[in-house]
Symmetry: C2
């Protein structure tokens, strides 16, 4: 099979992964909106969207496997395909987290809303920006952009710690709010985990572009 | 390079992955014991163990990459190496969850212990058994054993739901216990996530042995 055909297939694999990334990003944005607006329809959308994400994930994995099996790629092409397989897994888990947020939202819909000291909108925006930046780094093969995602992770970790502290105080002072404050803690942690997956994606981009396994240097700095 | 040499290398890769699995299992058991016995030394051990896990993960990934790159494996050998790469990632995340449990334990050490209606010991045993069973399936290439891990996942999901419900009641009735009950909720969720990673490992074993991508058939049945 001619080499040029192989590179067209790599480009197609990248497109498939970008479509997968769009679905995951969409899921996070919809789940956060569903939580903020208490919108049962959006929750349902997030749950249906998960099926599309799972189908897209399988297609990406199958194409990556086919390419590895048929083309025996070397060096940077091999690293790219391995990065795609890992990024694909992170995107699927981002979708799972979005479903968790939607399920928690549905559980609360029959209760009156209350004000809580937690900035879910801000955390959602921030996590969404991290996914977008990581995907941009993938699109451009830009390790510097990927590294900037690592710095962002510190900030969302901080937001999550603040949220847990504040919400714990609320529960202690107004225990009748626990039904709302506990799910809010879990949603905050879901968003922090979504950000972790974006950081994983950025690290895989760096591995693809530079060939170095920076995972634990990064994760040690981030923890 | 002769084919027999390649199969020796695959066996070596499997041994490396089993050593990695032993470290991750060790981390979970130590973290649960640290929580139950409020043992600062064990917490420290879990944190130091994480460095060993990260080193082992890098070695497995590098060897898998080398084999893919040099040997151009086909069919079942290729599926095995891809499964190793994915399982390696799940084992590393199991180690991360163990560190989370150790960190929460350390946070509580300066406070008097209180009794909470949550069976962390039972959940820890169960999650440990799931990891062991998944690793056994890997060792024997046994898809039936791997499938049994899927059934176990329902049970730990149930234990986690019961724990969250019970602990939420405790917080509402005795808000002064929130400092303990909230970390207990998070530890329960960490153990449930550890079980999810064991389920992922089992699914990758099935993919390796049977060549079918059962991920979403499994996950739909499990959710």
């Amino acid at each position: 099979m001619p080499r040029i055909h192989f590179h067209l297939q790599l480009a197609e694999l990248k497109d498939k992964l970008l479509a997968m990334a769009a679905l995951s990003q969409q899921a996070v944005e919809s789940a956060v909106d569903a939580w903020l607006q208490r919108d049962a329809g959006l929750c349902q959308y997030v749950r249906e969207n998960e099926t599309a994400i799972n189908t897209a994930q399988r297609e990406v994995d199958e194409m990556a496997y086919e390419l590895l099996s048929r083309e025996q790629p070397m060096a940077i092409d091999l690293r790219f395909i391995l990065a795609v397989i890992k990024i694909n897994g992170d995107l699927e888990r981002i979708g799972d987290m979005a479903v968790s947020i939607a399920v928690r939202t549905l559980d609360l819909l029959d209760q009156d809303p209350i004000d809580l000291p937690v900035d879910i909108a801000g955390m959602g925006d921030f996590a969404g920006r991290m996914i977008r930046t990581a995907v941009q780094a993938l699109l451009d093969g830009d390790a510097l952009v990927a590294e900037s995602v690592r710095d962002m992770d510190d900030e969302i970790d901080r937001m999550n710690r603040v949220a847990i502290t504040e919400l714990t105080h609320v529960i202690q002072e107004h225990p009748e709010t626990a039904d709302h404050a506990l799910p809010a803690i879990l949603v905050s942690r879901n968003l922090e985990r979504i950000a972790d997956h974006a950081t994983n994606i950025a690290t895989d981009v760096i591995f693809w572009v530079r060939g170095a396994d920076l995972r634990h240097q990064l994760s040690m700095a981030v923890d």
